[in-house]
C-alpha cells in the first residue's frame, strides 16, 4: 500500500490548499486527516484514484463544507466559500504560504520546527517527538500552543511582500537548517546522525528551491545540506564511531549528491548574490573534492565572516587556519572566542593542544568537551582521544 508515501508527499499540500480556502488551520488539518482515513478504507478496495492528491483535496473540501454547514458561523461564510471550493486547481504557492506561517518569526524556534515537520513534512506528532527525543505529550502540547498563537494573534497566511521577504525567508531557512543539523549531528542519543530528520530537511529544501527559484540562499541551503549529507555514510565506522574527515573512506561518499550539490553551488556563483548558506555550501563543496584545499577554505570563511560574523563561524575558520598555518596560530584565534558553553569550542581546543603536545591542558579541554555533549558517539570519540594523550 502506497498510502504512507502519499500521505507524506501530499499532506502539506492538502492542508495548505484547504487553509487557503477556509482560513482555518485546525479545520484544514481535521478534514485532511478525515480524507486520508476515508482513503485508507476506500483505496485498497476500489483501487488508487487517477490523482490521489486531487481525491484527497476534494474529499477534504467536501468535509469542510459539510462541517461549516453544521456550524452557525460557517453558514454565513458559505456563500463566499462555495465558488472557491469548486475550483479544481491548486497552485503550488499554497504550501509556500503555509511554510511562511509555520516559520513566522513571532513563533519560537521549537514551535517553527514542530509546525513545519507536522504541516509541511506530514510527519505525525509521535514521529516528531521521537526525532527530538521529547515525550509525545510535550510535542503535542507544543503544536497545540503554536496553532493557538497562529489563530489568536492572527498570523497571516500569505507569502510576505518583497520588502519583507529576505528577513522572513531567513526564518524559514533557519528552521529547515536546524532540522537538518539535528539529523546530521544529533545533540543527544546513541547515534551520531538521525537520518530521517536529515532526509526530511533535504525534502523541505528541495520544495523551497522549487517554490522560490530566484532565492539564491534557498539554493545555497539545499546545496549545503546535499554536500554534507553526501559524506554521511563515511562519517561513522562499523560500530557507529566517528570517523574524521581526513580519515574518511571517500569511496563511501555519495557521488550523485556531491554532483548535485556542486552544480547548485555553481548556479549560486552565477547568480552573484552571495549569502551565508551559499558560502557554507561552497566550503562543503571544497571538502567534497579529492583533497581539501585548506587555503581556499580559509578564504571562504573570511567571506562568510564578512556577511555573517559570529563566534561559531570564527571557530570553524580557526580549524581551517590550523591546517594552513599550524595549531599554534589557530589556538590563539580560538582562545579569543566567547564560546565557553559550546562543546565544539572545547573539542577544537583539545585537539589543538594535543597537536601542540600540551597534554595536561588537552586532557582538561577534553573533559570540558565531554561534559557538554549529550551524544553517545561524540562522547566516546572524545574519550578515546583523551586516552591517547594520557598515555
Amino acid at each position: 500500500m502506497r498510502l504512507d508515501a502519499i500521505y507524506r508527499a501530499e499532506y502539506g499540500r492538502a492542508v495548505s490548499v484547504i487553509t487557503r480556502d477556509f482560513g482555518d488551520l485546525d479545520l484544514a488539518e481535521d478534514v485532511v486527516q478525515d480524507a486520508f482515513t476515508a482513503a485508507a478504507r476506500r483505496w485498497p478496495v476500489h483501487g488508487l484514484p487517477p490523482s490521489p492528491a486531487g481525491w484527497i483535496i476534494t474529499a477534504a473540501r467536501n468535509r469542510a463544507i459539510d462541517r461549516l454547514r453544521r456550524e452557525k458561523t460557517g453558514r454565513a461564510l458559505l456563500p463566499q466559500l462555495i465558488p472557491l471550493a469548486a475550483t479544481p486547481e491548486f497552485p503550488a504557492d499554497d504550501r509556500l504560504r503555509l511554510i511562511f506561517t509555520c516559520c513566522h518569526p513571532a513563533l519560537g524556534m521549537p514551535a517553527r520546527v514542530a509546525l513545519t515537520l507536522r504541516l509541511i513534512g506530514g510527519l505525525t506528532t509521535p514521529e516528531i517527538a521521537r526525532a527530538f527525543l521529547v515525550p509525545e505529550a510535550t510535542m503535542a502540547q507544543r503544536l497545540v500552543r503554536a496553532k493557538a498563537k497562529i489563530r489568536e494573534a492572527r498570523l497571516p497566511y500569505r507569502v510576505p511582500d518583497a520588502d519583507e521577504l529576505p528577513g522572513r525567508l531567513d526564518a524559514v531557512l533557519a528552521a529547515v537548517y536546524l532540522i537538518f543539523n539535528e539529523g546530521h549531528s544529533a545533540t543527544t542519543g546513541d547515534a551520531l546522525t538521525r537520518d530521517d530528520l536529515a532526509t526530511e530537511a533535504i525534502r523541505l529544501g528541495r520544495l523551497l528551491v522549487r517554490l522560490l527559484p530566484h532565492a539564491p540562499e534557498a539554493t545555497g541551503l539545499l546545496a549545503l545540506m546535499l554536500l554534507a549529507e553526501a559524506r554521511r555514510p563515511a562519517r561513522t565506522g562499523p560500530d557507529g564511531e566517528i570517523v574524521l574527515l581526513a580519515d574518511q573512506d571517500r569511496t563511501r561518499w555519495d557521488p550523485a549528491l556531491i554532483a548535485e550539490g556542486q552544480e547548485l553551488v555553481r548556479a549560486c556563483l552565477r547568480a552573484g548574490r552571495p549569502g551565508p548558506y551559499q558560502i557554507q555550501a561552497a566550503i562543503n563543496a571544497v571538502h567534497c573534492t579529492g583533497t581539501t584545499d585548506w587555503p581556499q577554505v580559509v578564504a571562504l570563511y573570511d567571506q562568510l565572516l564578512i556577511v555573517a560574523p559570529g563566534p561559531v563561524a570564527s571557530l570553524n575558520r580557526a580549524v581551517a587556519v590550523a591546517e594552513v598555518s599550524g595549531p599554534s596560530a589557530a589556538l590563539e584565534l580560538v582562545d579569543a572566542l566567547p564560546l565557553h558553553d559550546y562543546q565544539l569550542f572545547h573539542a577544537v581546543r583539545a585537539d589543538l593542544l594535543r597537536r601542540l603536545g600540551r597534554d595536561d591542558e588537552a586532557v582538561t579541554a577534553y573533559d570540558e568537551a565531554i561534559a557538554r555533549t549529550g551524544n553517545g558517539p561524540t562522547a566516546s570519540f572524545l574519550r578515546r582521544r583523551r586516552e591517547t594523550v594520557r598515555r
Partner: protein, 106 residues
C-alpha cells in the same frame, strides 16, 4: 478587523533628555496611523509608583508588580493581521527606543 494592543515597556525613573524629540516623533507616527485609518487609542501613563491597587474592598499603594520596568503607555490599532500590527509596532518602537509587546484582543 482584529484589534491589537501595543504595550510600551518603560524603565522606571526620570525620562531621557531627548523626551521632547521622542514625543514629537511619536506624534508623527500616530498621525500616520490616523491617516491609515487604523488608530483607535493611545496614551502615556503617569509613573508606576503613583499606581494604586484594589483587591475587592482593600486599597493599597501600587504598582501591582514590583520591578524595574512598567507599562509606560499603550496604543490600540485596528489592522488586518499580525504582520500589519508588527509593522506599525516596529515603526513606533523605532522612535520610542523601547520594547513593545504586541497582543491581539479576543
Amino acid at each position: 478587523m482584529p484589534k491589537y494592543l501595543f504595550s510600551i515597556e518603560q524603565p522606571d525613573g526620570p525620562p531621557p533628555g531627548n523626551i521632547g524629540q521622542i514625543m514629537h516623533d511619536v506624534g508623527e507616527v500616530e498621525d500616520a496611523m490616523r491617516e491609515a485609518g487604523i488608530w483607535l487609542f493611545s496614551g502615556g501613563l503617569t509613573p508606576a509608583d503613583s499606581a494604586t491597587v484594589v483587591r475587592g474592598t482593600l486599597i493599597t499603594d501600587g504598582p501591582y508588580v514590583e520591578g524595574k520596568e512598567h507599562l509606560g503607555g499603550i496604543t490600540v490599532v485596528d489592522v488586518p493581521d499580525l504582520d500589519e500590527a508588527l509593522r506599525w509596532a516596529t515603526r513606533l518602537g523605532t522612535v520610542i527606543g523601547l520594547p513593545i509587546e504586541v497582543r491581539a484582543f479576543q
